[in-house]
């Protein structure tokens, strides 16, 4: 192995060289504040609006429907809190047990502010039943928030169907589509609000956007100079926004080729790993984002598995308790019913546009040895 193998692309991705190049002038020469009147400012303003236009066109949206943010955590907060505080007295939200914490913890916080929430269960593959959404809708439901594809296990949700149900009931629908851009078609037509983060598709960190369907009112959560048509104050991150537009062009332009390559790599991993003893696939074999595969290994713990693989030059991640700051295992794995012992031994492998078949094969070569090495010092035996 000549170089480290990066298989943690759902955590973050390498900023593509062409993206870095597109951003570069906005640090060095065109560094103006997009709100300034002078030539520097006009240059920056033009770059921001061109990027907005490009992103809108790629999505099939209007430019004024794109609100730039500092990433998807902010986009999710704006979508949820912004809806809650402009709801004309409606007090109820619906979400699912497997959302990212940027959604779940925001909904949890709203509960402390006088709002009520229903958190829907998922099936053992991580799928939400659209009928459950229909049944949970109340006259005072202000928002349904269901992610497009899960960041830990990859499972895709029936977003079109959920979107239809929400529209039929006149309820606003938000989807966290962070892992979806460049991997599967974005459900822009089904959603009223949709969150995106640039660094998940080879763009820069610290920038994202919220798609806000025309006519949807949001109370801002950041107050200040009234940027983004009053919806998000704060000086625009010009290089970030330019980089995000460049990355989106790249990702959507090559989506079919990249995602079919990723799908093949994922199938290859699933076939190989599930043949090893004491393993399971967490998630859905078919209805999944193409770049994420999540496995559990009996009798071993995920953090030490990640560290052993790291020593061999392979970067992956785990949903084990020992790897989390609060020593709790992944809420997603628990929600799909993975036994605690197996949740501790989970491994998430996620590919990127640069991942090669050879890298996957090297990972699959090293994995059994590392797993058995840890099992040899474990008090538990496979099948016990």
């Amino acid at each position: 192995m000549t170089h480290p193998i990066y298989l943690d692309n759902s955590a973050t991705t390498r900023t593509a060289p062409e993206v870095v190049e597109a951003m570069s002038p906005y640090f060095s020469t065109s560094y103006g504040n997009a709100s300034s009147l002078h030539a520097f400012g006009r240059e920056a303003h033009r770059a921001v609006e061109e990027s907005r236009g490009a992103i809108a066109e790629l999505l099939g949206a209007q430019p004024e429907e794109i609100v730039f943010t500092a990433g998807a955590t902010e986009a999710n907060n704006l979508a949820i809190i912004g809806s809650a505080f402009s709801s004309n007295g409606r007090k109820h939200l619906i979400t699912t047990a497997i959302e990212h914490h940027a959604v779940l913890h925001t909904v949890e916080w709203l509960r402390t502010q006088g709002f009520d929430a229903t958190v829907l269960d998922v099936d053992p593959t991580g799928r939400v039943d659209p009928e459950q959404v229909r049944e949970a809708i109340r006259p005072d439901t202000l928002l349904v928030s269901v992610m497009t594809g899960n960041n830990e296990i990859g499972t895709l949700q029936p977003i079109e169907e959920i979107g239809r149900i929400c529209r039929d009931h006149g309820v606003r629908f938000h989807t966290d589509a962070v892992q979806a851009l460049g991997k599967v078609p974005l459900p822009v037509d089904a959603a009223d609000l949709l969150s995106i983060s640039a660094h998940k598709f080879h763009g820069p960190k610290g920038v994202g956007f919220l798609f806000v369907r025309k006519g949807i009112k949001l109370t801002p959560i950041l107050h200040g100079g009234g940027h983004e048509r009053g919806r998000r104050s704060g000086t625009e991150n010009v290089p970030g926004i330019v980089g995000m537009a460049a990355a989106a062009k790249l990702a959507l332009g090559e989506q079919d080729a990249t995602s079919s390559r990723m799908r093949a790599l994922r199938a290859r991993m699933i076939d190989a790993v599930t043949q090893l003893r004491g393993t399971r696939l967490n998630g859905h074999r078919e209805e999944s984002l193409p770049h994420i595969a999540n496995f559990s290994f009996e009798a071993i713990e995920g953090e030490s598995l990640v560290m052993r693989l790291d020593e061999r030059g392979i970067a992956v991640s785990t949903g084990s308790a020992c790897s989390s700051p609060n020593l709790e295992p992944s809420h997603v794995l628990i929600a799909i019913g993975v036994p605690l012992s197996m949740a501790h031994g989970s491994l998430r492998v996620s590919t990127g546009r640069q991942t090669t078949e050879q890298e996957i094969d090297e990972f699959l070569d090293v994995l059994p040895e590392v797993v058995e090495g840890l099992r040899a010092i474990s008090p538990f035996k496979v099948g016990e």
Partner: protein, 161 residues
């Protein structure tokens, strides 16, 4: 986040595996909580009749820190008399490893607890008197396991809706 010493012990752990001819085992932790350590000790009398831990090994399910602390506690206890080994603390284990991240300090506690439990089991089997501090720690360990299990049950209940 981990010191070089921790990584070294994680990479090449000492005294790992099951001891075939052991005198007692100390079992601590719970798979539900993500850390389990089984410590095996072989105890033999020396010329002066003192109980000495002549051999030691362990099997651990857990993170990098759990494996490194297992390795370290086995190094520290090997060749010691039971009376000496009883005085080993989790701070001793962590210190010998050049420190542990604050969130991982419980792993060194687990290692010291495993040694405590192995010695407790050994003395109980021999029908010997259990020193006060050893008994006290034994009771604390049991209480903590129960509390952790409760906490995890609550976490699972909450996330399965």
């Amino acid at each position: 986040m981990y010191t070089e010493r921790v990584i070294e012990h994680f990479r090449n752990p000492h005294n790992m595996g099951k001891l075939e001819d052991y005198s007692a085992i100390g079992k601590v932790g719970n798979i539900v909580c993500g850390d389990v350590m089984w410590l095996y000790i072989k105890v033999d009398p020396d010329e002066e009749g003192r109980d000495v831990i002549t051999d030691i090994s362990w099997e651990t399910f857990g993170c990098t820190a759990a494996i490194a602390t297992s390795s370290m506690v086995s190094d520290l206890a090997k060749g010691r008399t039971i009376d000496e080994a009883i005085t080993l603390t989790n701070q001793d284990v962590a210190k010998e490893l050049g420190g542990l991240p604050p969130i991982k300090m419980h792993c060194s506690a687990l290692a010291a607890d495993a040694l405590n439990e192995a010695i407790y089991t050994y003395l109980s089997q021999q029908g010997r008197e259990i020193p006060g501090p050893l008994r006290k720690r034994h009771e604390r360990i049991a209480r903590e396991v129960a509390a952790l299990e409760k906490r995890y049950e609550a976490f699972v209940d909450k996330n399965r809706g």
